[in-house]
C-alpha cells in the first residue's frame, strides 16, 4: 500500500453511534480524503463505505468492564499497528475512545463527534478523548458555550 495517500479511519459503536456515523458518511463524496478503514465493535458492517474499505471489530466495553476494555485496547493496538491511520473520525463511544487513544500514540489526528444524545454535558468517553482530540464537535450549541475548544457545527439526527 502506498503511503502517499493518507489513511482515514472511521468507526463507531453499534446502535445510535453507528446511525450517526452513517448519517455523516452520506456526505463523504464531498471530502478530500475518503475513508479506507472501518472500525466497529460488534459484528455489524455498513453499506456506507466503498467495498474495498478494510473492516475491523474491537468489541464492546464500558466503564464498568475493565477486562473488556483491556481486550478492546489490545485489538485497537493491532489495528493501529497495521493500518497506521493518519486521521480517526468517530461518533463514539467508549471502545472508540480507547481506539483513539491508541491511534493518537501512533501519531494519528483525532476527530471526535459527541453523540446528540449527550444533552447537558459531554459523554464520559468524550471527556477521555477531549484533551488530545484535534477536532471535537458537539451537537448542541449550549455545549459549545460550556466547554472551551469544543465546536458546534450542526447535528447528525
Amino acid at each position: 500500500m502506498s503511503r502517499t495517500e493518507k489513511t482515514l479511519c472511521v468507526g463507531a459503536s453499534s446502535g445510535g453511534h453507528m446511525s450517526e456515523l452513517e448519517a455523516l458518511l452520506a456526505y463523504q463524496s464531498k471530502w478530500s480524503l475518503r475513508p479506507s478503514v472501518f472500525v466497529a465493535t460488534l459484528g455489524i458492517s455498513t453499506k456506507a463505505l466503498p467495498p474495498d474499505a478494510r473492516h475491523y471489530l474491537i468489541g464492546e466495553c464500558d466503564r464498568n468492564h475493565l477486562w473488556q476494555a483491556v481486550r478492546t485496547l489490545v485489538r485497537s493496538c493491532k489495528v493501529v499497528w497495521r493500518e497506521r491511520p493518519d486521521v480517526v473520525l468517530t461518533t463514539g463511544s467508549m471502545p472508540l475512545a480507547l481506539f483513539c487513544l491508541m491511534a493518537k500514540l501512533f501519531g494519528a489526528r483525532i476527530v471526535w463527534i459527541d453523540s446528540i444524545s449527550q444533552i447537558d454535558r459531554i459523554s464520559m468517553s468524550g471527556r477521555l478523548v477531549r484533551p488530545f482530540a484535534d477536532l471535537f464537535l458537539v451537537q448542541w450549541p449550549e455545549l459549545e458555550r460550556r466547554y472551551p475548544g469544543v465546536r458546534y457545527a450542526g447535528e447528525l439526527v
Binding site: S32, D86, I119, G154
Partner: protein
C-alpha cells in the same frame, strides 16, 4: 400495526412488560408486534420476535402506524427521518439498563422539541397513548452538512 422495539443492542424487559400489562386496558383496534431482543420477559398479549434483519426491521417500522421504543437515538432518528409518530421510554441507570441516564435527558429534550412523546410509568404510557392520535411529530431539520463541512475543513489541512 403498532411496532414495539427495544433497539439492536440490549434487552429492555421493563418496557415490554409495561406495554404488555397496560395493553388490555387500552382496547386498541390494531395489534402490537414486538422486537424484544434478548429479553427474558415474554409478552402474553402480542406477537413478538427476538431480532429482525435490517430489511425486515425497516419494513416493520415503515408499515407501523405508531412505534413504541426505548429512547435510543438510532430508533428516534429513523422515526424522525420517516415522520413516524413514536413513543419512547428511557432506559435508566437505576434499573441497570445503562451506565448513565442520558436516555432520560434525550427523551425529555426530544419531547420538549415536539419530536416524540415520552413516558416512564404505566400511567404515563396510558396518557400518552390517548394523546398520540392527535400527535403529529414536528419535522426535524438536522444540519448534517454543517458537520460534514467542519470535517472537510479539517481533512483538507491534514
Amino acid at each position: 400495526v403498532i411496532f414495539l422495539t427495544v433497539g439492536s443492542a440490549l434487552p429492555f424487559d421493563r418496557l415490554v412488560q409495561m406495554v404488555d400489562g397496560v395493553l388490555p386496558s387500552l382496547q386498541l383496534q390494531e395489534p402490537v408486534f414486538a422486537q424484544i431482543g434478548r429479553g427474558r420477559y415474554k409478552p402474553k398479549h402480542f406477537e413478538y420476535i427476538d431480532f429482525l434483519p435490517k430489511t425486515e426491521f425497516d419494513k416493520a417500522f415503515d408499515e407501523a402506524s405508531l412505534v413504541i421504543s426505548h429512547a435510543g437515538i438510532g430508533t428516534i432518528g429513523i422515526a424522525l427521518r420517516t415522520g413516524k409518530p413514536i413513543l419512547v421510554m428511557p432506559r435508566q441507570e437505576a434499573f441497570g439498563e445503562l451506565v448513565d441516564d442520558h436516555q432520560m435527558l434525550t427523551a425529555n429534550k426530544f419531547e420538549a422539541l415536539g419530536h416524540v412523546l415520552a413516558f416512564s410509568t404505566p400511567g404515563e404510557f396510558t396518557a400518552k397513548m390517548s394523546m398520540v392520535r392527535e400527535f403529529s411529530p414536528k419535522a426535524r431539520h438536522a444540519n448534517v452538512e454543517g458537520i460534514s463541512s467542519a470535517v472537510e475543513d479539517f481533512l483538507a489541512r491534514v
